[in-house]
Amino acid sequence: MSVTPHLPPIAMLGQKTIADMVASGRRLDGRGLTDYRPLSIETGKIEKANGSAMVHLGKTKILVGIKVEAGQPFPDTPNEGVLTVNAELAPLASPLFEAGPPSENAIELSRVVDRGIRESKAIDVKKLCIKEGEKVFVVYDDVYVLDHDGNLIDACSIASLAALLTAKMLDYEYKDGKVIYKSKLSALPIQNNPVAVTLAKIGNNLVVDPTLEEEQVMSARLTVTTEKNGKICAMQKGGMGELSPQEIKDAVKISLEKGAEIRNKIIEAAK
């Protein structure tokens, strides 16, 4: 059951300042309405993971670890590998997060990031089949939010893609129902680069990459995930406000443009 959240009240004065500034085309940190905060991507820091990426988007910090392990396929897709995305809103990341089972926010975050990867067929899951109907590789995309200053969806999707692009798995042999690993490493079969772009509606304007403060002021948000061929592969509206059809179309245009910029940065970082 989902319940209207009890959000900590923020200062009215601050709200008004942000709204006024946005109406005149500027934001509190000096950015334009469609500017992303400084983005840094560092891969490979967690050696025990098959792949990992640490992303700083402004002050938001995300760590993704990819683990690839042999497991069972789903009955309806016996020759396809499995992708599972799990996001944790670690209590250390924000006074708003509590320890415990995943909240609806953590679950939504996991599923939106998952949707982008899955629908764009970013992972060629057929190449992860070991023995049809018996054994496939399971790709675990574990997303850790370590510091929450807004726009977790975009930051988590950037970190997931960077980690997937740089992940390595061992070559193997399948004998008598056992997977025997050899010593050669290869990349995961990644064939697309989905990028999520989130816009927040503040007053009558849409701003890209909202900070935590802006998220507390916004009436609604829209995430549009696009893939390398310019198609939309996922979309999610969040928040208790409303969006007009034109606003959504405008958001899609902005997402395609900013998505391409971010895509290039991720590919660069994954080299």
């Binding site: 009240p9 923020i10 004065l13």
Partner: protein, 227 residues
Amino acid sequence: MTEQVQNKQLVSPGELLCEGDYLVGENTFRDVDKVYSSQVGVVDFSEKRVSVIRIKGPYLPRPDDLVIGRIVDILMSGWLVDIHAPYPALLPASEVSSQTGRQVSDLSTILRVGDLVISKVLEFDRTRDPLITAQGPGLGRVSTGKTVEISSAKIPRLIGRNGSMVDLLKKETRSHILVGQNGIVLVSSESPEGERAAISVIKMIEREAHTQGLTDRVKALFEKEAK
């Protein structure tokens, strides 16, 4: 009586400061004949007292402190205010000036959730949450300006001896600057540049509060700007 560290040195929790008959000042504690620091900060030996000026730490309200807080809830007889302390503060309806002697059915017509309010601490002890008042000159709801949050430990440095530092800032940036003991500073100016300059210098003071020569550097900054 022996000092184990130099005056004005940066010390950490558990670090031995001195041995002997020293008076134990703030952020230090005694164990038999030795005095230690309980915080990260700068040690200050003056006369026979040793204290540590801490760099960071929670704000504990004291009676008469001026604080800037945010209304977070409306209760039966007043408001709950977040004053950035480990405890929320209670602002009774009777302590807001428009209410003396009148019955009000809806407190939210006076102060709403999210409003910023300048208040004074009336009472605080370890057994109850702090009690604050918004009655008095200069107290009450805030309607303009920007707030800056800094560590409450740096407030004395921002104010300066007899207010010298904050007065310098007010004059040079032509701004109204109200300093809350709880680390919230309210800045408002007719010139947006003045406001920006004030906020930037406040942040600089927070960053460099533990260093020597800060006052001179702030003065030099303004002299350079004037040229």
